[in-house]
Symmetry: C2
Subunit: 197 residues, 2 copies
């Protein structure tokens, strides 16, 4: 998505430790008109799928999921919650997600009543790097015996392994921008060439 | 908002400890079409204000803020973040918010660059009880020398003190549903009568 690459170039900040900050329009302040374009683009890329529900994880994924749902006839959004131990019960599907950025492991839950074997799920998230968050969400969908129809990512770090692993496993994954490399000293970001619609 | 009261009656669950769970359409699973109606209603109630930015707090507020921004010409949303100590710096406005529900105190931050003295801020959130979260957000707006134009709440617990305090201080506060009492044994919820638009 050319407009996204331009936005990342203009407003993203590359930091040491392979970190790209997009707080200006996605992760702290939200450019709501632009987010609408992201939702529209996901619809274009996944319209051939029969999707009944959008699944994401709090907090940054929520806005993306909501903007996308509008373009899929206002289907429900479910966001997985980072759980306190007290929330662990027989009523929830549970998985653990490790964050390499924060060096933490979170327990993540979805209430069983919000994912069923009849659901065709579109997973969305802001970033894909090692894929831990997405594999965690897939795990929750599998526990519910629901079907993963596709995975929509705003920014993929193409030089990390998550994207390749997911594609190798046969998932329909689309990342609106794929970063092949970035340089914290110069701020330079190199995007992978993708075909535009 | 009559439709909201009906939705709470139909889908909300009253629990012991003055807790109302609206996970079915607002706080875990999101009824995205209904959220759109909530955004439209906030626009109707606050259209006379000059608003440049919507401020909320992660995670549950994000979807509400986004749905509302669409009806205010796609103005930016900023969500305050629950901070790790490492995020405390001179670059952020910082406040502490106590949650009576979870019996925790969170450090909450907004990056200074996303709130300025020129901003006219509309604060939105899902619940208002004691008002700790809203007063925390007001504190952040004040630190930025910005102006609070209004406060939009989806569900106010009218039997708790937050709403009255905010109104007494002269804020334009609108809650789409105000609960005067609820009973965890019978599930009964009594709403305060409000005039409809």
């Amino acid at each position: 998505m050319k407009a996204l690459e331009e936005k990342i170039q203009a407003e993203g900040i590359v930091k040491a430790g392979d970190i790209l900050k997009v707080d200006h329009f996605l992760n702290h302040q939200i450019d709501t008109a632009f987010l609408d374009e992201i939702g529209k683009e996901f619809q274009r890329l996944f319209h051939q799928h029969h999707i009944t529900k959008i699944l994401t994880i709090e907090a940054s994924g929520i806005a993306i999921a909501l903007a996308t749902a509008r373009y899929f006839d206002y289907i429900p959004v479910v966001f997985a919650k980072k759980a306190k131990t007290a929330q662990m019960s027989d009523d929830v599907y549970h998985t653990s997600i490790h964050s390499y950025t924060h060096q933490t492991t979170s327990d993540v839950v979805v209430a069983k009543q919000y994912l069923s074997c009849e659901d065709h799920v579109f997973i969305v998230d802001d970033f894909l790097a090692n894929g831990c968050a997405v594999f965690g969400l897939i795990d929750l969908v599998c526990q519910a015996h629901a079907k993963v129809e596709g995975i929509g990512i705003v920014i993929e770090k193409g030089h990390q392994a998550g994207g390749q692993k997911l594609r190798d496993q046969g998932y329909h994954l689309e990342s609106l921008a794929i970063i092949d490399s970035m340089n914290a000293c110069t701020g330079e970001i190199i995007f992978r060439k993708q075909k535009e619609g």
